[in-house]
């Protein structure tokens, strides 16, 4: 009779287990390489890296945390979308319902505090990258991608700020979008806008300037809510996802986590 197997050994020998994990436990060099190379998520990492790159004291793990918080925001955001309708009639009441009728409702809190946290982690990530001089060649381009991602993070948070449709939301967005009105040449209150006139015809007015395009109107109203909702839930996350792919790819191609030359 065969030697008695432990349950773990038995499971590891089943066809199901072997079909999922195509290598043995990662306790030797071959399997440690296989676990990274064979997993679509883990293979973002190199198989080996310099010890300085795995030290928390060097990286603060801020870039990784930013990505992690972004993923949590995607998950909680999708769940929130089940309960939320972006119209002036329903938006505020849906938020109230989320608070009062959904059991164990901390989803909105997780999403809001997560959004604040992501702004903080992305700033600290940039701060760390600067302090270690990691933007220097060959990583100049990736630093630029990172700056764009930072701006998009702020825009994600900014567009989401409107969605609860309370006083805090619309007036914060009103303050922010009023700046767009002052864009040189493109906003109707900006320098140079009144130079673009043909006779009596004003080319840049409050009915067609950048603020109008952003809000879909002359003030923060229902069209702005819909625009911000779509920007927040679809457009910006797609662009961010794309740029994250570029950012991670270039981290690898530019030589991995920076270290002294």
């Amino acid at each position: 009779m065969a030697k008695k197997q432990s349950l773990a050994q038995y499971v590891a020998n089943t066809q199901v287990w072997k079909s999922i994990f195509r290598h043995g436990p990662p306790n030797n060099a071959r399997n440690r390489a296989a676990v990274i190379a064979g997993n679509v998520f883990l293979h973002l990492h190199p198989i080996k890296l310099k010890r300085s790159g795995v030290q928390l004291g060097y990286t603060w793990c801020m870039g990784g945390l930013t990505f992690f918080v972004f993923l949590s925001l995607t998950v909680t955001g999708v769940l929130l979308m089940f309960y939320y309708r972006p119209t002036a009639e329903y938006a505020f009441n849906d938020i109230i319902a989320l608070r009062e009728h959904v059991p164990l409702g901390i989803m909105r809190e997780l999403h809001r505090w997560g959004a604040h946290l992501m702004v903080i982690t992305v700033w600290l990530h940039m701060f760390r990258v600067f302090m270690t001089g990691s933007y220097k060649p060959p990583r100049e381009f990736n630093w630029g991608v990172g700056v764009v991602l930072l701006v998009l993070t702020l825009l994600l948070s900014f567009t989401g700020y409107l969605l609860p449709w309370d006083q805090l939301a619309i007036w914060a967005i009103a303050v922010g979008s009023n700046m767009a009105k002052a864009t040189p040449f493109l906003g109707h209150g900006g320098p140079g806008a009144n130079l673009a006139q043909i006779g009596d015809f004003v080319m840049v007015s409050d009915k067609n300037d950048v603020r109008y395009q952003l809000l879909g109107g002359r003030f923060v109203g229902e069209p702005a809510l819909l625009r911000f909702y779509i920007l927040h839930c679809v457009f910006i996350p797609l662009v961010v996802g794309l740029l994250i792919a570029v950012h991670f790819w270039r981290v690898r191609k530019d030589g991995g986590i920076s270290a002294p030359l």
Binding site: V54, L65, L110, G114, F127, K136, A174, M179
Partner: protein, 358 residues
């Protein structure tokens, strides 16, 4: 005592304090980057913070849910700034002694397996992050105010906290500068950093001594302007965007006697005692000269300084002038702040005819 704190928090004093503090920070970073310094200053900071929290006015503004992240950011910035300086001080001492920085030691150059070393760290960091977020979410409800009402604006109406530095700049600049040109230049300037900074040293390790100019420029913009202005905009600006000390009640009737005067009015009316010319460009001639002089004159002065000429040599003309342009534009903000505080100056160049006010 509280009166004194209220007075000293006023940007004109606190910003001066920040500038002096920043200078001392850059000069004595090796003393600051020690564990002893950190612990003793943390005890003082936390002590002061706890003492301040006893005040109902300060307490109310700190615990307002959307302000909590700024408190977290503030302590995170203090910690991580100190921490990177601490590592930089160690490395600088090693480099002076002819050694490699810590990150470049033989042991640290050695390659280790991603599994389990890195994967484990990531798992722990992610788990800790979830725990913090869940606890934060259970104990602090997300704010929700009255339903949106486009006909009634709250006072003060504030942008989200990460944009409050920009909103604070509105005190000193018109929206086209504070909301469009300066933020645009921040983005352009950040992207330009790796192309301007040609110093090959300090790539991949913490150091201060090997890249002091780059450090000084970046840290000043990040700490003394961006983070500082967010703190002012969040905690110390009340109704009508008036300044309120940390212990002051947000009294809607606080009247601030502030009659700001344009440079053109200073020159023609107060200076020469005649009425202002009707030609716009003649009227604003002094402001135009001063602004041009600020850019051209200071550039020439930089060219002649020792640091300037050595930078010109190492960077080349294009990089050098781009750097000067970005730094001088960043410098416009503190310059305009002090002109406001000292002379109640409103605009250097005031051309409301073209919505062009600087």
């Amino acid at each position: 005592m509280k009166e004194l704190v209220n007075t000293l928090s006023d940007p004109k004093y606190s910003f001066t304090g920040v500038i002096i503090g920043f200078y001392l920070f850059m000069k004595y970073y090796r003393t600051i980057g020690t564990v002893k310094f950190f612990i003793s200053s943390m005890i003082i900071i936390l002590g002061v913070f706890i003492w301040m929290m006893q005040d109902p006015n300060f307490h109310a503004i700190i615990v307002w849910p959307d302000n909590v992240p700024i408190v977290i950011l503030l302590f995170a910035v203090i910690f991580f700034t100190w921490f990177s300086i601490y590592k930089a001080a160690i490395n600088d001492a090693r480099i002076e002694g002819g050694e490699t920085p810590v990150e470049g030691s033989v042991e640290n150059r050695e390659k280790v397996w991603t599994w389990p070393n890195l994967v484990y760290t990531e798992l722990m960091a992610g788990t800790l992050c979830v725990v913090i977020l869940v606890i934060w979410s259970i104990f602090l409800k997300a704010p929700l105010e009255e339903p949106a009402n486009p006909t009634w604006a709250p006072n003060p109406a504030k942008a989200p906290w990460y944009f409050l530095g920009l909103q604070e700049m509105l005190v000193y600049f018109d929206p086209w500068m504070a909301g469009v040109v300066l933020p645009g230049l921040i983005i352009v300037g950040l992207i330009a950093i790796p192309y301007i900074d040609t110093n090959p040293k300090g790539n991949g390790y913490y150091t201060m001594a090997e890249r002091k100019v780059a450090m000084g420029g970046f840290l000043f913009g990040w700490l003394a302007l961006w983070v500082y202005l967010i703190i002012i905009g969040t905690f110390l600006r009340g109704p009508n965007w008036t300044f309120y000390g940390p212990f002051e009640v947000w009294d809607f009737h606080k009247v601030v006697a502030e009659a700001n005067v344009n440079l053109s009015e200073f020159f023609w009316i107060k200076g020469l005692g005649i009425s202002m010319p009707s030609n716009i460009f003649l009227r604003e001639i002094v402001g135009l000269i001063v602004t041009t002089g600020y850019y051209v004159g200071l550039t020439l002065l930089c060219n002649r300084s020792q640091l300037g000429s050595s930078l010109m040599k190492s960077l080349g003309k294009i990089r050098y002038y781009l750097l000067i342009l970005l730094l001088l534009t960043m410098g416009l903000l503190p310059v305009k702040m002090y002109l406001r505080w000292l002379f109640n100056l409103k605009y250097l160049v005031a051309m409301p005819e073209f919505e062009f006010n600087l």
